[in-house]
Amino acid sequence: MRIGVVTFPGSLDDRDAQRAVRFADAEPVALWHGDHDLQGVDAVVLPGGFSYGDYLRCGAIAARSAIMTEVIAAAEQGMPILGICNGFQMLTESHLLPGGLIRNEAGSFVCRDQLLRVESTSTTWTSGFSAGEEIIIPLKNGEGGYIADAVTIERLEGEGRVVFRYLGYNPNGSMNDIAGISNERGNVVGLMPHPEHAIEPGFGPDTADAMRSGVDGLRLFRSALESALAH
Protein backbone atom coordinates (compact mmCIF):
# COMPACT_ATOMS: atom_id res chain seq x y z
CA MET A 1 0.00 0.00 0.00
CA ARG A 2 1.27 3.48 -0.85
CA ILE A 3 0.44 6.27 1.56
CA GLY A 4 1.13 9.83 0.50
CA VAL A 5 2.38 12.43 2.98
CA VAL A 6 1.94 15.99 1.83
CA THR A 7 4.63 18.57 2.53
CA PHE A 8 3.44 22.16 2.74
CA PRO A 9 5.74 25.10 3.38
CA GLY A 10 5.99 24.95 7.15
CA SER A 11 5.12 21.27 7.52
CA LEU A 12 7.22 19.84 10.34
CA ASP A 13 6.18 16.31 11.10
CA ASP A 14 6.08 15.20 7.49
CA ARG A 15 9.24 13.12 7.73
CA ASP A 16 7.95 11.61 10.96
CA ALA A 17 4.69 10.67 9.27
CA GLN A 18 6.65 9.04 6.46
CA ARG A 19 8.62 7.08 9.03
CA ALA A 20 5.37 5.96 10.67
CA VAL A 21 4.04 4.75 7.33
CA ARG A 22 7.26 2.80 6.84
CA PHE A 23 7.05 1.31 10.31
CA ALA A 24 3.53 0.15 9.47
CA ASP A 25 4.99 -1.70 6.46
CA ALA A 26 3.40 0.58 3.91
CA GLU A 27 5.25 2.66 1.36
CA PRO A 28 5.48 6.40 2.08
CA VAL A 29 5.17 8.72 -0.91
CA ALA A 30 6.19 12.36 -0.57
CA LEU A 31 3.58 14.69 -2.07
CA TRP A 32 4.10 18.40 -2.69
CA HIS A 33 1.53 21.06 -1.84
CA GLY A 34 1.89 22.84 -5.18
CA ASP A 35 1.13 19.80 -7.34
CA HIS A 36 -2.26 18.74 -8.63
CA ASP A 37 -1.06 15.16 -8.35
CA LEU A 38 -1.61 12.43 -5.77
CA GLN A 39 0.76 10.08 -7.62
CA GLY A 40 -1.73 7.25 -7.44
CA VAL A 41 -1.47 6.75 -3.69
CA ASP A 42 -4.01 4.70 -1.77
CA ALA A 43 -4.29 7.04 1.19
CA VAL A 44 -3.07 10.48 2.26
CA VAL A 45 -1.69 11.84 5.50
CA LEU A 46 -1.78 15.59 6.10
CA PRO A 47 1.01 16.01 8.64
CA GLY A 48 1.54 18.34 11.56
CA GLY A 49 3.42 21.59 11.56
CA PHE A 50 2.78 25.25 11.02
CA SER A 51 1.90 25.49 7.35
CA TYR A 52 2.45 29.06 6.21
CA GLY A 53 3.27 29.85 9.81
CA ASP A 54 -0.38 29.31 10.72
CA TYR A 55 -0.45 33.07 10.74
CA LEU A 56 -3.98 33.59 9.45
CA ARG A 57 -5.80 30.65 10.97
CA CYS A 58 -4.20 27.27 11.42
CA GLY A 59 -4.31 25.33 8.19
CA ALA A 60 -6.30 28.05 6.42
CA ILE A 61 -3.81 28.90 3.71
CA ALA A 62 -2.73 25.30 3.18
CA ALA A 63 -6.37 24.28 2.75
CA ARG A 64 -6.43 26.43 -0.36
CA SER A 65 -3.38 24.85 -2.00
CA ALA A 66 -3.31 22.93 -5.26
CA ILE A 67 -2.93 19.51 -3.69
CA MET A 68 -5.92 20.04 -1.43
CA THR A 69 -8.22 20.24 -4.44
CA GLU A 70 -7.12 16.70 -5.23
CA VAL A 71 -7.31 15.57 -1.62
CA ILE A 72 -10.85 16.88 -1.30
CA ALA A 73 -11.91 15.12 -4.49
CA ALA A 74 -10.25 11.87 -3.41
CA ALA A 75 -11.81 12.08 0.05
CA GLU A 76 -15.22 12.37 -1.53
CA GLN A 77 -14.45 9.20 -3.49
CA GLY A 78 -13.70 7.44 -0.21
CA MET A 79 -9.90 7.59 -0.10
CA PRO A 80 -8.59 7.27 3.46
CA ILE A 81 -7.33 10.66 4.65
CA LEU A 82 -5.69 11.27 8.03
CA GLY A 83 -5.14 14.82 9.27
CA ILE A 84 -2.77 15.12 12.21
CA CYS A 85 -2.78 18.37 14.19
CA ASN A 86 -2.14 20.98 11.47
CA GLY A 87 -3.57 18.39 9.07
CA PHE A 88 -6.74 18.20 11.19
CA GLN A 89 -6.94 22.00 11.02
CA MET A 90 -6.65 21.81 7.22
CA LEU A 91 -9.49 19.28 7.12
CA THR A 92 -11.79 21.60 9.05
CA GLU A 93 -10.71 24.57 6.96
CA SER A 94 -11.55 22.63 3.80
CA HIS A 95 -14.86 21.53 5.34
CA LEU A 96 -14.07 17.84 4.99
CA LEU A 97 -14.64 17.79 8.74
CA PRO A 98 -17.02 20.04 10.68
CA GLY A 99 -16.13 22.56 13.39
CA GLY A 100 -12.90 24.39 13.95
CA LEU A 101 -9.83 24.54 16.15
CA ILE A 102 -8.98 27.53 18.24
CA ARG A 103 -6.27 28.65 20.64
CA ASN A 104 -5.77 26.41 23.65
CA GLU A 105 -7.74 27.47 26.67
CA ALA A 106 -4.57 28.04 28.71
CA GLY A 107 -3.26 30.30 25.97
CA SER A 108 0.03 28.57 25.51
CA PHE A 109 1.44 25.77 23.42
CA VAL A 110 1.29 22.43 25.21
CA CYS A 111 3.42 19.33 24.67
CA ARG A 112 2.51 16.27 26.73
CA ASP A 113 2.03 12.53 26.69
CA GLN A 114 -1.73 12.37 26.44
CA LEU A 115 -4.08 9.61 27.48
CA LEU A 116 -6.87 9.07 24.95
CA ARG A 117 -9.87 6.80 24.62
CA VAL A 118 -10.60 5.31 21.23
CA GLU A 119 -14.33 6.00 20.89
CA SER A 120 -14.92 4.69 17.43
CA THR A 121 -13.38 1.75 15.63
CA SER A 122 -15.53 2.11 12.54
CA THR A 123 -13.16 4.42 10.70
CA THR A 124 -10.47 3.36 8.27
CA TRP A 125 -7.82 4.64 10.64
CA THR A 126 -9.06 3.03 13.87
CA SER A 127 -10.39 -0.36 12.80
CA GLY A 128 -7.39 -2.03 14.44
CA PHE A 129 -8.27 -0.77 17.92
CA SER A 130 -10.87 -2.14 20.24
CA ALA A 131 -13.65 0.22 21.24
CA GLY A 132 -13.01 2.04 24.49
CA GLU A 133 -9.32 1.20 24.43
CA GLU A 134 -7.06 3.65 26.26
CA ILE A 135 -3.91 4.74 24.48
CA ILE A 136 -1.08 7.23 25.04
CA ILE A 137 -0.13 9.55 22.21
CA PRO A 138 2.02 12.70 22.33
CA LEU A 139 0.12 15.91 21.92
CA LYS A 140 1.71 19.20 20.94
CA ASN A 141 -0.21 22.20 19.75
CA GLY A 142 -1.03 25.82 20.39
CA GLU A 143 -4.44 25.84 18.76
CA GLY A 144 -6.09 22.54 19.44
CA GLY A 145 -9.32 23.52 21.14
CA TYR A 146 -12.10 21.86 19.16
CA ILE A 147 -15.26 23.92 18.80
CA ALA A 148 -18.46 23.54 16.87
CA ASP A 149 -22.03 24.69 17.31
CA ALA A 150 -24.33 22.66 19.50
CA VAL A 151 -26.07 20.97 16.58
CA THR A 152 -22.80 19.77 15.11
CA ILE A 153 -21.56 18.46 18.43
CA GLU A 154 -24.79 16.60 18.97
CA ARG A 155 -24.56 15.07 15.52
CA LEU A 156 -20.95 14.02 15.96
CA GLU A 157 -21.76 12.37 19.26
CA GLY A 158 -24.98 10.81 17.99
CA GLU A 159 -23.42 9.37 14.87
CA GLY A 160 -20.39 8.00 16.71
CA ARG A 161 -18.05 10.30 14.86
CA VAL A 162 -16.05 11.35 17.89
CA VAL A 163 -13.10 9.05 17.28
CA PHE A 164 -10.72 9.99 20.10
CA ARG A 165 -11.44 11.66 23.41
CA TYR A 166 -9.02 13.13 25.96
CA LEU A 167 -8.93 11.19 29.17
CA GLY A 168 -7.94 12.45 32.59
CA TYR A 169 -6.98 15.90 31.39
CA ASN A 170 -8.31 18.10 28.65
CA PRO A 171 -5.18 19.87 27.43
CA ASN A 172 -6.72 22.54 25.24
CA GLY A 173 -10.29 23.15 26.29
CA SER A 174 -11.83 21.08 23.49
CA MET A 175 -15.59 20.78 23.67
CA ASN A 176 -16.71 17.37 25.00
CA ASP A 177 -13.00 16.52 25.42
CA ILE A 178 -12.88 15.85 21.70
CA ALA A 179 -9.42 14.91 20.43
CA GLY A 180 -10.38 13.58 17.01
CA ILE A 181 -13.37 13.16 14.71
CA SER A 182 -14.29 11.55 11.42
CA ASN A 183 -16.53 12.27 8.46
CA GLU A 184 -19.78 10.32 7.98
CA ARG A 185 -18.17 7.71 5.82
CA GLY A 186 -15.29 7.12 8.22
CA ASN A 187 -12.54 7.49 5.65
CA VAL A 188 -11.51 10.98 6.76
CA VAL A 189 -10.16 11.31 10.30
CA GLY A 190 -8.61 14.31 11.97
CA LEU A 191 -7.01 14.41 15.40
CA MET A 192 -4.85 16.82 17.37
CA PRO A 193 -2.48 14.29 19.03
CA HIS A 194 0.42 12.94 16.99
CA PRO A 195 0.23 9.17 16.41
CA GLU A 196 3.37 9.35 14.24
CA HIS A 197 5.31 10.09 17.43
CA ALA A 198 4.21 6.88 19.12
CA ILE A 199 5.54 4.28 16.72
CA GLU A 200 9.09 3.46 17.76
CA PRO A 201 10.27 2.19 21.14
CA GLY A 202 12.72 4.67 22.64
CA PHE A 203 11.23 7.70 20.92
CA GLY A 204 7.59 7.62 21.92
CA PRO A 205 5.68 8.76 25.01
CA ASP A 206 6.38 7.47 28.50
CA THR A 207 4.12 4.61 29.52
CA ALA A 208 3.62 2.78 32.78
CA ASP A 209 6.05 0.14 31.48
CA ALA A 210 9.02 2.24 30.58
CA MET A 211 10.33 5.61 29.49
CA ARG A 212 9.52 6.54 25.88
CA SER A 213 8.15 3.12 25.08
CA GLY A 214 4.67 3.99 23.76
CA VAL A 215 3.86 2.73 20.25
CA ASP A 216 0.06 3.01 20.23
CA GLY A 217 0.18 5.38 17.29
CA LEU A 218 1.42 2.71 14.92
CA ARG A 219 -2.00 1.10 14.88
CA LEU A 220 -3.63 4.02 13.10
CA PHE A 221 -1.35 3.44 10.14
CA ARG A 222 -1.72 -0.35 10.40
CA SER A 223 -5.50 0.04 10.47
CA ALA A 224 -5.44 1.86 7.15
CA LEU A 225 -3.21 -0.84 5.72
CA GLU A 226 -5.47 -3.63 6.93
CA SER A 227 -8.65 -1.95 5.70
CA ALA A 228 -6.99 -1.59 2.32
CA LEU A 229 -6.01 -5.25 2.25
CA ALA A 230 -9.50 -6.29 3.30
CA HIS A 231 -11.02 -4.47 0.32
Binding site: L56, R57, A60, R64, T92, E93, H95, P98, G99, G100, I102, R103, N104, E105, A106, G107, G145, I147, A148, D149, G173, M175
Partner: protein, 83 residues
Protein backbone atom coordinates in the same frame (compact mmCIF):
# COMPACT_ATOMS: atom_id res chain seq x y z
CA UNK B 1 -2.67 54.57 -1.04
CA UNK B 2 -6.20 53.67 0.03
CA UNK B 3 -6.64 51.01 2.64
CA UNK B 4 -9.64 48.83 3.21
CA UNK B 5 -10.21 47.49 6.68
CA UNK B 6 -11.81 44.11 7.31
CA UNK B 7 -12.87 43.21 10.81
CA UNK B 8 -13.41 39.63 11.89
CA UNK B 9 -14.63 38.43 15.27
CA UNK B 10 -15.04 34.96 16.76
CA UNK B 11 -18.69 33.89 16.72
CA UNK B 12 -20.50 35.17 19.76
CA UNK B 13 -21.81 31.78 20.79
CA UNK B 14 -18.41 30.11 20.65
CA UNK B 15 -15.57 30.17 23.14
CA UNK B 16 -12.90 32.82 22.88
CA UNK B 17 -10.07 31.70 25.14
CA UNK B 18 -7.87 34.67 24.30
CA UNK B 19 -10.59 37.11 25.23
CA UNK B 20 -11.21 35.20 28.40
CA UNK B 21 -7.52 35.39 29.27
CA UNK B 22 -7.48 39.16 28.80
CA UNK B 23 -10.64 39.53 30.87
CA UNK B 24 -8.91 37.51 33.58
CA UNK B 25 -5.84 39.71 33.40
CA UNK B 26 -7.99 42.82 33.70
CA UNK B 27 -9.68 41.44 36.77
CA UNK B 28 -6.31 40.61 38.32
CA UNK B 29 -5.13 44.16 37.63
CA UNK B 30 -8.10 45.40 39.60
CA UNK B 31 -10.34 46.62 36.82
CA UNK B 32 -13.89 45.45 37.27
CA UNK B 33 -15.49 47.67 34.65
CA UNK B 34 -15.62 45.17 31.83
CA UNK B 35 -17.74 42.10 31.96
CA UNK B 36 -16.30 40.43 28.90
CA UNK B 37 -13.55 40.76 26.34
CA UNK B 38 -13.49 39.24 22.89
CA UNK B 39 -10.56 39.35 20.52
CA UNK B 40 -10.80 39.33 16.78
CA UNK B 41 -8.70 40.41 13.87
CA UNK B 42 -8.32 43.61 11.95
CA UNK B 43 -6.96 43.37 8.40
CA UNK B 44 -5.67 46.34 6.48
CA UNK B 45 -5.54 45.74 2.75
CA UNK B 46 -3.69 48.39 0.79
CA UNK B 47 -4.09 48.93 -2.92
CA UNK B 48 -3.55 51.38 -5.69
CA UNK B 49 -6.55 53.04 -7.26
CA UNK B 50 -10.01 54.22 -6.36
CA UNK B 51 -12.26 52.53 -3.82
CA UNK B 52 -15.08 51.48 -6.09
CA UNK B 53 -17.77 48.84 -6.00
CA UNK B 54 -15.62 46.30 -7.81
CA UNK B 55 -12.89 46.55 -5.19
CA UNK B 56 -15.38 46.39 -2.36
CA UNK B 57 -16.98 43.32 -3.88
CA UNK B 58 -13.60 41.67 -4.19
CA UNK B 59 -12.77 42.49 -0.58
CA UNK B 60 -16.10 41.09 0.57
CA UNK B 61 -15.37 37.88 -1.23
CA UNK B 62 -11.84 37.62 0.20
CA UNK B 63 -13.10 38.46 3.66
CA UNK B 64 -15.66 35.68 3.56
CA UNK B 65 -13.59 32.99 1.89
CA UNK B 66 -10.04 33.53 3.10
CA UNK B 67 -9.84 36.06 5.91
CA UNK B 68 -12.51 34.41 7.99
CA UNK B 69 -13.84 30.93 8.55
CA UNK B 70 -17.63 31.10 8.71
CA UNK B 71 -17.80 28.05 10.93
CA UNK B 72 -16.14 29.89 13.79
CA UNK B 73 -15.99 33.57 12.83
CA UNK B 74 -18.07 36.47 11.51
CA UNK B 75 -16.98 39.34 9.32
CA UNK B 76 -18.25 42.29 11.34
CA UNK B 77 -17.07 45.15 9.21
CA UNK B 78 -15.60 46.17 5.90
CA UNK B 79 -14.83 49.80 5.29
CA UNK B 80 -12.39 52.05 3.53
CA UNK B 81 -10.07 53.48 6.10
CA UNK B 82 -10.23 57.17 6.77
CA UNK B 83 -6.47 57.46 7.04
Amino acid sequence: MPTIVVEVMPKAELLDPQGKAVAGALARLGSSTFSSVRIGKRFELTFDGPVDDAVLAEVKDIAETLLSNAVIEDVVGIHADAL
